[in-house]
Symmetry: C2
Subunit: 232 residues, 2 copies
């Protein structure tokens, strides 16, 4: 049994986006023995259908609580996911336009507040650094820096009980994530990874997130239940 | 002229709460030559009248832009400022109930996203560690840890242009803050520091924030234009 929360069993705040990675991270946390407090952030993203997917995954996980927080980053802008910039198609050079300034910092800050308020022993994020879009806030050094923020900037941290920052998928390829998820019976059909889905939630098939997801399922030799038919 | 933003003059995101400290921090940033991007967070706090005060201070500062973001932390709870816990009166032991879990981490995360989206060279926060309420997220080690998050977790940071995290009041007493603000002609009458003001915005006079503010003005030998009359 992991975690140092006062709950019984100890609890972990899982950042649940509705995508495949966070669903697998949540399933991992449950398998590790944590009671799950799911946190979903509606930040004004294009792909709001993610929120519905997060609710389905939270039900499947049997979470203790699912907190949905809304903070509209459209007034901040600076990203293809929240602003008027188009979502890029196909591979791009460098950090792509889908990068949302400081998004994981914000998600972790909200998770940290919730973890502290609920005395949870850990925060779980589905970030991974192998088959990813080059986002700076999906790297070990960033997560380590945030862990130091949790230690120094909270009452829990001052008392030596800062929630741990866990990124169980960090060093897994997309193939490894699909394999782990399959082993934990993650309902991939309920997840959505696309940056620009149709209004009824079908993935576009051409954005970076769709491309990486397809690559992962293909490498794992598994079919993706959400894969779009040829042509879309 | 300070800052490394691409604006001309360079800009700084100033966290503007409507309180005295952030007003003085904003005035400092302006005096340092920064163009000001004000950021005010409505987090569901008891003292919502703060938001009106922040707007007045922003007007006085002549900001380039005033972004107001809303994220309702009442669903997170864990604080006298957002939940059903009463605001303590008089001095308390340890970190008081008015501590909001991870609040400055959240504020800085939002400021970091805005700074990156606007290519601002700095983030300015009015935190101070001398006459303060013992909040862990008002200390140097926390701010240093957050600066590392900015360096590692943003596109700007990867490019060596992470916004600096500036806390010009960190080592000032409340007296020093009042003196600096007076020198910069800060309109103290437009600010409010109380945790539990009356609906029309009058300070209670008995909470920690009122107590510290009163102490600062008294020590500086200045009268506080917002001081409540005897009896309230």
């Amino acid at each position: 049994m992991k975690g140092e929360g006062t709950g019984n069993p100890p609890s972990a705040v899982v950042l649940l986006s509705g995508g495949m990675d966070s669903a697998v991270a949540g399933a991992w946390a449950r398998a590790e023995g944590y009671g799950i407090l799911a946190l979903t952030v509606d930040y004004g993203q294009r792909h709001r259908v993610e929120i519905d997917a997060a609710r389905k995954v939270a039900r499947w996980l049997g979470v203790r609580e699912h907190v949905e927080l809304r903070v509209d980053l459209r007034d901040v802008g600076g990203s293809a996911l929240t602003g008027g910039i188009p979502v890029p198609r196909g591979p791009t050079e460098g950090i792509p336009a889908t990068y949302v300034p400081a998004r994981n910092t914000l998600f972790l800050a909200l998770a940290l507040g919730l973890a502290e308020a609920r005395q949870a022993g850990a925060i779980v994020i589905g970030a991974n650094r192998i088959d990813f879009s080059g986002y700076p806030d999906c790297r070990r050094e960033f997560l380590d820096a945030f862990a130091r923020v949790a230690e120094t900037g909270t009452k829990a941290g001052v008392e030596g009980k800062a929630p741990k920052v866990l990124a169980p998928l960090l060093d897994l390829s997309k193939e490894g994530i699909v394999r782990l998820g399959a082993r934990l019976s993650v309902p991939f059909a309920d997840t959505i990874s696309c940056y620009d889905p149709s209004p009824d939630g079908r993935p576009c098939g051409t954005c970076d997130a769709c491309r990486l997801r397809r690559k992962g399922f293909a490498a794992a030799g598994t079919s993706d239940p959400t894969a779009p038919p040829e042509g879309r």
